[in-house]
């Protein structure tokens, strides 16, 4: 099996198929740890991991924090609202100052694409991208890949339709890279203003018709619709979006085969997904959350688990 050689995890675009598979296989072994009575192994004892979230997040931050703690690392969550950023310090200076306290890893979320990359080039410790602007959210896509692989036993040949605001979605971008590299057939679907021009160049099929996206899919990956998109004039109305693109029982009843539902959270119940669908037995949404811990444990283990 191959070795992990990277200092950082910034984007799935950078990774080879083998690297993605290494993370997924490693995560498989970590999943068991969270089912134990004592949910902790000593692999990262003495390592310090810093959550540097410049944008609010509950799930991803909690997931990374639990992953780090289950590997016995120490975790520090840096609250940006009370930080020196508000006093005018640049993000690179902030990171360098924290690094000077001898930490091993930064987990960074930022509203600007490229911020984690910029920091990674200026520090010698590991940097993991926890979502940057509209660029990428690699660990989300890795946990999605893991969930699909666990459910179907493979990724190659699986048909996944990503539905919603593709244009602003780092989750969509990371998932397109990840699923394409592992041989899935990816379709994207949404209202035309929210589908990026030239997205076909990433190897995906584009459709604006929801029926078309649902018809041939094994998995519907429903993106969160951010309400401010209406204010920004990308959408005439949320109600209209919900009626056309929201996944509800009516759209589901037409299906002949079993289709699984995934969503990166947090859900807007009633907009992109109706409650009756989110609660169905073919919803993988909570499994995604569970698997997020195992995948993030694997990423932390691979990036800072050994001497480099």
């Amino acid at each position: 099996m191959m070795e992990w050689k990277r200092k950082d995890l910034i984007a799935l675009e950078d990774l080879s198929r083998e690297e993605i598979e290494l993370i997924l296989n490693t995560a498989k072994s970590f999943k068991e740890v969270s089912t134990r009575a004592v949910k902790k192994v000593p692999a990262l004892r003495g390592k310090t991991i810093v959550n540097l979230f410049f944008e609010p997040s509950t799930r991803t931050k909690t997931s990374f924090e639990l992953a780090a703690k289950r590997l016995s690392a120490d975790v520090l969550s840096f609250d940006v609202s009370t930080s020196s950023i508000s006093k005018g310090e640049t993000i690179v200076d902030t990171a360098k100052n924290i690094e000077a306290m001898k930490v091993d890893c930064f987990i960074i979320r930022h509203s600007v694409a490229g911020a984690p990359y910029l920091i990674s080039k200026n520090v010698s410790c590991a940097v993991i991208n926890a979502g940057d602007g509209c660029h990428e959210h690699p660990t989300q896509a890795l946990l999605d890949l893991f969930t699909v692989k666990e459910k179907f036993g493979r990724i190659k040949g699986i048909k996944i339709s990503i539905i919603g605001d593709i244009l602003h979605s780092r989750v969509a971008r990371s998932n397109i890279w990840g699923f394409k590299k592992l041989g899935a057939e990816v379709t994207v679907c949404g209202p035309p203003p929210l589908i990026p021009l030239d997205i076909e160049k990433m190897g995906v099929r584009v459709t604006y018709k929801i029926e078309d996206a649902i018809e041939n899919a094994d998995i519907l990956y429903i993106l969160r619709l951010q309400k401010e998109r209406q204010r920004e004039n990308f959408l005439p109305s949320l109600k209209e979006y919900s009626k056309i693109y929201g996944i509800d029982r009516d759209k589901f009843l037409k299906l002949k085969k079993k289709v699984f539902i995934m969503h990166p959270g947090p859900m807007n119940r009633g907009i992109e997904i109706k409650s009756e669908i989110a609660e169905k037995d073919n919803s993988l949404i909570l499994e995604q959350v569970t698997n997020g811990i195992a995948v993030r444990m694997a990423v932390l283990y691979l990036t800072i688990g050994s001497k480099r």
Binding site: M1, E3, W4, T26, K28, S29, F30, E32, V33, R36, A37, V38, K40, V41, P42, A43, L71, Y301, L302, G305, S306, K307, R308
Partner: protein, 175 residues
């Protein structure tokens, strides 16, 4: 250079003898077996096969990957590949037979003991190994030994098993 320490026939006799010893001194009541990956798990399966025949009831078995409990993380260059730990039974108040193929420095067993204790509190733990090759670095000794062989520290003792390597044998290799 390769030197044979046990052939297939000798290996199976050694395992039979280990099973006898274990039955006599630990007993089979409330016993469970845990094999250390990789190869210790296969020996554990074989011991269990023999012991179950005598016991006529099922003996629980589990497998342990000790990678995450290693003490040399900061020294090794690359991340060791991890395989899954699988212990489905309740280990509290059980007699645990820990099985590995070779005991050398004792560090693997130290890691395994730590891992087992994270799963609960067994009433006792006994250690069975196929080969004891000496050179211990920790005060850990096996309770049941198939065969003691004299080795140089640089030599490699390789236990081969049918299930993974196509044949049963133990060889000593010079580096």
């Amino acid at each position: 250079m390769e030197k044979k320490a046990l052939n297939a026939k000798e290996m199976s006799e050694v395992i039979e003898n280990l099973a006898k010893e274990i039955e006599r001194s630990v007993g089979l009541e409330n016993l469970a077996i845990i094999g250390i990956k990789r190869r210790g798990d296969i020996l554990a399966e074989r011991l269990r096969g023999i012991l179950q025949k005598k016991y006529k009831r099922e003996i629980p078995i589990g497998f342990l990957d000790i990678t995450l409990y290693r003490d040399d993380f900061s020294k090794i260059g690359a991340n060791p590949v991890i395989s899954e730990t699988d212990i489905k039974f309740d280990i509290n108040e059980r007699k645990i037979l820990l099985v590995d193929d070779v005991i050398f420095t004792g560090r693997t067993v130290r890691a395994a003991l730590d891992a087992i204790i994270d799963f609960g509190r067994p009433s006792l733990i006994r250690l069975a190994v196929l080969i004891d090759r000496n050179h211990r670095e920790l005060p850990i000794q096996p309770d049941f030994v198939g065969k003691v062989i004299e080795t140089e520290k640089e030599e490699i003792v390789e236990v081969k098993v049918k299930e993974m390597d196509g044949k049963d044998e133990v060889v000593i290799e010079k580096k």
